[in-house]
């Protein structure tokens, strides 16, 4: 059985990690490579980097961030933000991404999902959907970081995206984002029941029990969060201990084993010196 993945998300602008509460009042946090390395050591199961750059010339800076991060981390790396063409997929995959997420561009041109899945495989293509609750049982797709509504049913779009070849879905509730009142479990339940690919919950983490609720009640495969990790309100180690003690299968952080690996590294280093 697969472990539920804990996924820190890092928004990057001009080479720095930022986090916007409701996509406004953007505040600078830290060096992406430093944060990535820290999360990796703390037990993150995957990292997501979003390029929230406004201009094309900053794209090269972002690619360089991905390149540097991929050299440091030993866990999967998903990259998104401004992915509009198959060439964009190639660009970030060459920089070191394992998976690529598409959002607004796929809403505009759904064929992008099919083209990318055919070229790189469905496991490479993550459909990221920003959703907003508009009625008692109605969620709609919003784009441009939550600034523009589309009138499309979010559930129908997710089903269509998976049919086109998306191998994973990130559901980002913009109503919950940065508010820290918990994930949109009601909608997530509908999504996990409707599609047969991994579903990642995003938007709303504020407390340990929010993660448990998403994992147990909505049965999502992964849980993404940003600010609670960036500001140190929740540590990944504490979160995993909490989830394990509440019966949620997560990959344990084994410090004994980290030392064993470090010991092997030292032994190999000593052997190398001995051999010279």
């Amino acid at each position: 059985m697969l472990a539920k993945r804990i996924i820190p998300c890092l928004d990057v602008r001009q080479g720095r990690v930022v986090k916007g509460k409701r996509f406004q009042a953007i505040e600078d946090v830290e060096d992406p490579v430093v944060l990535a390395d820290r999360y990796c050591r703390e037990g993150a199961d995957e990292l997501v980097f979003y390029d929230i750059t406004a201009s094309a010339e900053d794209r090269g800076i972002f690619d360089e961030v991905v390149r540097r991060v991929s050299k440091v981390v030993n866990i999967p790396l998903t990259v998104g933000g401004g992915i509009a063409t198959v060439e964009d997929f190639t660009r970030v995959l060459m920089a070191g991404a394992d998976k690529v997420s598409v959002n607004t561009a796929a809403v505009r041109r759904p064929e992008l999902i099919r083209e990318a899945a055919l070229k790189f495989g469905a496991q490479c293509v993550v459909l990221s959907v920003d959703v907003s609750k508009v009625g008692p049982d109605r969620w709609e797709v919003v784009v441009k970081g939550g600034r523009e509504t589309t009138g499309m049913s979010a559930l129908e779009w997710i089903k269509q995206g998976v049919a086109l070849g998306a191998g994973e879905v990130v559901v980002n509730s913009i109503d919950q984002d940065g508010v820290r009142k918990g994930y949109d479990v009601e909608f997530l339940k509908q999504v996990t029941a409707a599609v047969n690919v991994p579903v990642i919950a995003s938007g709303g983490a504020g407390a340990l029990e929010h993660f448990e609720e998403a994992a147990r009640v909505a049965d999502v495969d992964g849980i993404l969060a940003a600010s609670v990790f960036h500001y140190g309100d929740i540590s990944i180690g504490d979160l995993k201990s909490y989830l394990l003690s509440h019966g949620v299968a997560v990959r344990p952080l084994d410090h004994r084993f980290d030392r064993a690996a470090a010991g092997a590294a030292e032994a190999a280093g000593a052997a190398e010196q001995g051999g010279n």
Partner: protein, 217 residues
């Protein structure tokens, strides 16, 4: 185990045959400070202390590329001469008899067994993508010291069926016991991505290298 013998004397050859993105595997060796070269040179692949067959993508495309470059023959010769080979993910799958990925394709036939698709009717999400627990099927030096609750990162839709049970060292539960690490003498295969499996992956890379290059049996 002799520490000195476990140290690579010559660079490890990572076989470059034009499939997928294997930069992350190269990054892993750089992180571990293990010298390795990415090469398509037949002599280097044949004579390196250890050759690694990586791969991501489709089976048919990959086996065709191995044959078109003649690297398939070089690998066969290496194995005949008893020199170690490590296959990772799709590279592991290529070492077996066949794969049913979008057809029925013959592999290198170095090991017994074929790759079949996970059954979606069993309620499984396919591909098998994510962190899964490694279960020890048998004792082997490559898995010595691995904790009971170690996890590895998998991304694949086809798994080994009909393999020699004596060669399956680690498996992961996903509808079936999915062979995760196999070893037959100087041939090792890893179905998971060791370069993406955190400290566990790095630990297993070191162990496999020590066993294959150190002469431990």
């Amino acid at each position: 185990m002799n520490d000195q013998a476990a140290t690579p004397r010559k660079p490890i050859a990572i076989i470059d045959y034009g499939v997928g993105n294997i930069q992350n595997l190269i990054n892993a060796f750089e992180r571990l400070e293990i010298p390795a070269v990415l090469t398509a040179d037949h002599d280097v692949i044949l004579n390196a202390e250890l050759s690694i067959l990586p791969g991501v993508g489709a089976f048919k495309d990959a086996i065709d590329k191995l044959r078109n470059t003649g690297i398939d023959q070089v690998i066969q010769q290496r194995v005949r001469e008893g020199r170690p080979l490590l296959g990772i993910c799709l590279g592991m799958q290529l070492m077996f008899e066949a794969s049913e990925e979008d057809g029925d394709w013959e592999g290198l036939g170095l090991l017994k067994g074929r790759f079949v698709k996970f059954d979606e009717n069993m309620g499984l999400k396919v591909p098998h993508m994510g962190w899964n627990r490694l279960v020890k099927e048998r004792q082997d030096p490559v898995a010595d010291g691995l904790p009971e609750d170690a996890y590895a990162y998998y991304v694949h839709s086809y798994y080994l069926s009909g393999g020699d049970a004596r060669d399956i060292i680690l498996s992961s539960p996903y509808g079936v016991a999915v062979p995760g690490l196999i070893r037959k003498g100087s041939i090792v295969g890893m179905q998971f991505h060791p370069e993406k499996s955190g400290a566990v992956g790095e630990f297993l890379i070191r162990q496999v290298l020590a066993v294959l290059m150190g002469g431990t049996q």
